[in-house]
């Protein structure tokens, strides 16, 4: 009667990667991302105990409890995941880090810390669940909300949006990608690539908010996308409050997606021939997408082999947090020598 449970090379089942049940709104794109983190790590055979997860504050930052119950995690302060993770990873640099932040957490309150973390090339998979709105405080504009967006009770957003990928590139990120929560296959593949990258991997995942960000004119529902031609597929009807999933589609093509509110988004994947190691191309592609109102997805830029934060420290082989008092307290003789020096 016993059913054989499938295990990965690490000898673990998918269950070993699971988190607690989500308490986010039903249909929230963030849940799909959590699932893909689970899938990616399972497929990569990474043992959960070898990962540490971090987050800031907000809907997105609740996510780390919804995946990897068997890893250490720290849900820090709003906008301050960057520093928390930077310090924590010094404890044992053999661990892998994954952080989940949101657009408010990263692009508003945490912008400074985010850019400095990128600049230091801290090895971490840094996922931004980007929905252009503050969910947990009930629907205020975020810094990634596009100009002209109107939200219930909030009026019209008069400021241009922050492009997280552009900010990451400008801070010399060594891995920059964008995806869409409704494209689980791509999300997973990008997360897998990010975990394989030694350095910071910034993934901006557009993750529609089903509750507060469903106005027709909004960036994250992209009505202007309707004007764009040649969608590859017509998306079948999506029942309200179901997560949005799209079928896989070819590189270099576009795809129109209908969101919860009936609005559509035009997704475009980077061309097959796109060279992600060319930073000029990355800037060009992001800029072109903005001009064309595409939600361009894929890996924009990778700089493999760039020194990480830890490469600039000549640390002992043993994890710092395993060092014994003997290895940490200098000898009595050394203090006597120093004291003699100060006595002169």
């Amino acid at each position: 009667m016993a059913t054989q449970t499938q295990v990965n090379v690490a000898g673990l089942t998918r269950n070993d990667y699971k988190g607690s049940p989500s308490t986010l709104c039903q249909g929230c794109g963030h849940n799909s991302i959590s699932s893909q983190i689970v899938a990616a790590l399972y497929e990569l055979n990474i043992v959960p105990e070898n990962v540490v997860k971090f987050s800031g504050i907000g809907c997105s930052s609740k996510s780390p409890t919804y995946f990897l119950n068997r890893t250490f995690g720290f849900n820090g302060l709003h906008g301050r995941m960057s520093s928390l993770a930077t310090g924590a990873m010094f404890g044992d640099v053999t661990l892998k880090a994954v952080g989940v932040s949101g657009d408010g957490d990263t692009a508003s309150i945490g912008m400074g810390g985010f850019k400095h973390m990128v600049r230091r090339n801290v090895p971490i998979v840094y996922i931004v669940e980007n929905n252009g709105v503050y969910g947990l405080t009930k629907g205020q504009f975020s810094a990634t909300a596009e100009k002209g967006l109107e939200l219930k009770h909030r009026g019209r957003n008069v400021f241009g949006p922050v492009d997280i990928c552009m900010e990451a590139l400008a801070s010399n990120a060594t891995f920059v990608a964008r995806s869409f929560a409704g494209d689980p296959k791509q999300v997973k593949e990008i997360i897998k690539a990010a975990f394989s990258h030694n350095g910071i991997a910034v993934i901006d995942i557009i993750s529609p908010c089903v509750t507060f960000h469903n106005k027709e004119d909004s960036f994250h529902s992209y009505t202007w996308g309707k004007a764009n031609e040649s969608p590859l597929h017509d998306i079948s009807y999506v029942a309200p409050r179901d997560e949005i999933f799209i079928e896989d589609y070819e590189e270099g093509t576009t795809q129109e997606v209908t969101l919860h509110d009936g609005a559509t988004v035009v997704l475009k994947k980077l061309e097959k021939s796109y060279d992600p190691c060319n930073i000029y191309e990355a800037y060009r592609a992001i800029e072109e997408a903005e001009q064309n109102h595409w939600l361009l997805t894929g890996i924009f830029y990778i700089e493999p082999g760039a020194p990480t934060l830890f490469d600039s420290y000549n640390l002992v082989e043993k994890p710092l947090n395993r060092l014994t008092p003997n290895e940490l307290r200098p000898s009595k003789g050394s203090l006597e020598k120093l004291s003699a020096h100060f006595a002169l």
């Binding site: 995690g73 820090g76 302060l77 010094f90 053999t94 947090n321 940490l328």
Partner: protein
């Protein structure tokens, strides 16, 4: 060097009028002119002669061109607090000379660069011109170094006139420049020429002399920030995140200086520590808390403005129970305030930092040796209690060079606290006792923690600043919240044996108490002797930690009046004491003052006398 030193021509003072090893000299220069070297040479030379000495730098928030003063107090009796008047002034800055003259005692001595035009000099002071330009010109110094060595002129002249052994000056110079011959020689050339000029051209008509005293055995000269960094290093410091700020920068910079020589693996040369200069104090404390959570002996150092920014994160560290050590080298606030002046104005900030009910262990070192001692002790307390420990130093203590008892090697083995590694967790699992991060298993309020990198599948937990139960699950349950907060209170308040006890000194017949803390110690010691001389003996308690130990309570109850002396406007220590011991509130009298300058014994005595008269 080392030929016999020619004596200064002098009109000898009347018998008994010589003032030996008991006066204050102030050097007035322009900042950025390299006067620090000249002043240090004099300070250390006096120390080498066995004379108790202290140097205080009064400097502007500026890099070059504004007035700077350096005061050296010599005291054969060992009184090392600031004094308010000068016996000797060395004036190199024309812009401030008239002010300096105002602050001289009758009979004082003024050395001045002879190109400064002085008008209306007081008749009760003695003046000696110094031909600074002439001596520099004759000395054949490279033009680009002229300004830099100009201050060596006063080293030579003052040394000659008050009688500092030139041999000692040379040795100190050699020590200062770490034996670099070129630097030693070019400075020595000026000092020697200046001393010779003074010997040949000045006639000493003042009473100030220095004389060798017995060697100051077991004493060192060091600043509090260096001492703090070294204390931390001997405490096993593994992680520092910091952001530059006066007057705290030199604490982290000292760690950066000394860590490589003390804490690199002798075989591989690899580091057992990491230092990160953060982008701001928000990040500095975030990194330090991250590292503390991940099992490192972690700290940050800053001043008041930085602490303001760290408030939110330290509240999280308190609630999520993360060990971290925070040094606050206090300066004058609020706002940017007087960033290069000293104060004790951040005490209530430390006590009440962050929102909600918080509490921190606060250590109050009173001298550089205690900066060293608390530097290592703070980690033991932080890790034992899994909580932030704040150490309050100040600019005077941190940045000035003090004569203090030599550093004592840590007397206790490191206490890493209740940490469970793989085998510990496994043992609990095997015994069927599930581990919960915030369970009070031992009944002492202190839970057991695990550390990222522990590969046992039962070890990981999810730390959070949000409400959580004993198993770290998110919880909004009222009883869970209250239970957790009560345990935290118990954790901090029921382990006072870990906190440095106060230092208490009695005098016969004392009916008054004095309470003070931190850098004001030397001024208090002197003030108590001065009061005793006026038949007002006092007992003295120096607070060294908060929460207050029982000895503080007993002391408060023992006197009708206890003066709480401190360097802030509002009497912050008095406020904290009155809160904890409200029944003593009316007996606690605030003697508080802040103008950016270290307290003087004179001010303390006058303040207490005035209050006693009432």
């Amino acid at each position: 060097m080392s030929q016999a030193q020619p004596a200064t021509k002098e009109i000898p003072p009347k018998a008994g009028k010589k003032i030996i090893n008991d006066f204050c000299m102030t050097f007035s220069t322009i900042n950025g002119s390299g006067s620090a070297t000249a002043n240090t040479i004099l300070l250390r030379s006096l120390f080498r002669m066995g004379i108790p000495v202290n140097g205080k730098n009064i400097f502007p928030s500026n890099i070059q061109g504004l007035p700077t003063w350096y005061s050296i107090r010599l005291s054969k009796k060992g009184y090392l607090a600031r004094v308010e008047k000068d016996d000797i002034v060395v004036a190199m800055n024309p812009a401030t000379i008239s002010t300096e003259i105002e602050f001289m005692v009758p009979g004082a001595v003024l050395f001045y660069a002879d190109d400064i035009k002085i008008t209306g000099v007081r008749e009760d002071i003695i003046t000696y011109p110094m031909p600074v330009r002439k001596l520099i010109k004759e000395a054949d110094v490279q033009p680009n170094l002229r300004d830099y060595v100009a201050n060596m002129v006063y080293v030579g002249i003052v040394a000659q006139m008050i009688g500092i052994d030139m041999d000692v000056i040379y040795k100190t110079l050699d020590y200062h420049f770490k034996g670099k011959k070129k630097a030693v020689d070019s400075n020595w050339m000026i000092i020697e020429a200046a001393a010779k000029w003074a010997q040949e051209n000045l006639v000493k008509s003042d009473p100030y002399y220095v004389e060798k005293m017995p060697e100051l055995k077991d004493y060192i000269m060091v600043d509090g920030n260096t001492a703090a960094a070294l204390g931390a290093i001997y405490g096993g410091l593994q992680f520092v995140a910091w952001y530059p700020i006066t007057p705290a920068s030199s604490l982290a910079e000292s760690a950066i200086e000394y860590l490589p020589q003390l804490r690199n693996d002798p075989e591989t040369g690899k580091a057992t520590y990491a230092v990160v200069q953060a982008e701001d104090e928000l990040a500095a404390v975030g990194m330090a808390i991250g590292a503390g959570w991940a099992g490192l002996r972690s700290m940050t150092s800053t001043s008041g403005p930085g602490i303001s920014l760290m408030g939110e994160y330290l509240g999280l560290a308190y609630y999520a129970e993360v060990p971290v050590v925070v040094w606050n080298v206090q300066r004058v606030g609020p706002s940017t305030g007087l960033p290069t002046r000293t104060a004790q104005g951040d005490l209530t900030q430390a006590a009440f930092l962050s929102h909600g009910d918080t509490q921190y262990v606060i250590l109050l070192p009173g001298c550089a040796s205690e900066c060293f001692e608390f530097g290592w002790k703070a980690f033991d307390i932080a890790e034992r209690l899994q909580t932030p420990v704040m150490i309050l130093s100040d600019l005077d203590l941190g940045m000035n060079t003090h004569m203090v008892k030599t550093f004592k090697y840590p007397t206790k083995p490191m206490d890493r606290g209740k940490v469970l590694w793989e085998e510990d967790i496994q043992k609990l699992v095997d015994e069927g006792k599930p581990w919960g991060r915030y369970q009070d298993v031992d009944g002492d309020g202190i839970p057991y923690r695990t550390i990222p990198g522990n590969r046992n599948t039962h070890a990981p937990y999810f730390a959070r600043g949000t409400g959580h139960d004993e198993m770290t699950r998110y919880s909004e349950d009222p009883s869970v919240w209250e239970r957790g907060m009560e345990r935290l209170k118990k954790k901090i308040n029921s382990h006072k044996e870990l906190y440095p006890r106060p230092e208490i000194q009695h005098m016969d017949g004392a009916k008054l108490g004095i309470i003070a803390y931190g850098s004001t110690g030397p001024a208090i010691d002197e003030a108590r002797d001065l009061l005793a001389a006026q038949k007002i003996p006092t007992d003295y308690l120096r607070v060294r930690s908060i929460p207050f130990n029982d000895e503080v309570c007993d002391f408060l109850h023992a006197y009708d009046r206890t003066y709480v002396v401190e360097m802030n406007r509002d009497g912050q220590m008095r406020q904290l004491l009155a809160m904890d011991y409200s029944d003593c509130g009316s007996r606690l009298v605030s003697v508080a003052h802040t103008d950016g300058m270290p307290l003087s014994a004179e001010w303390i005595v006058n303040s207490i006398l005035k209050l006693e008269e009432k």
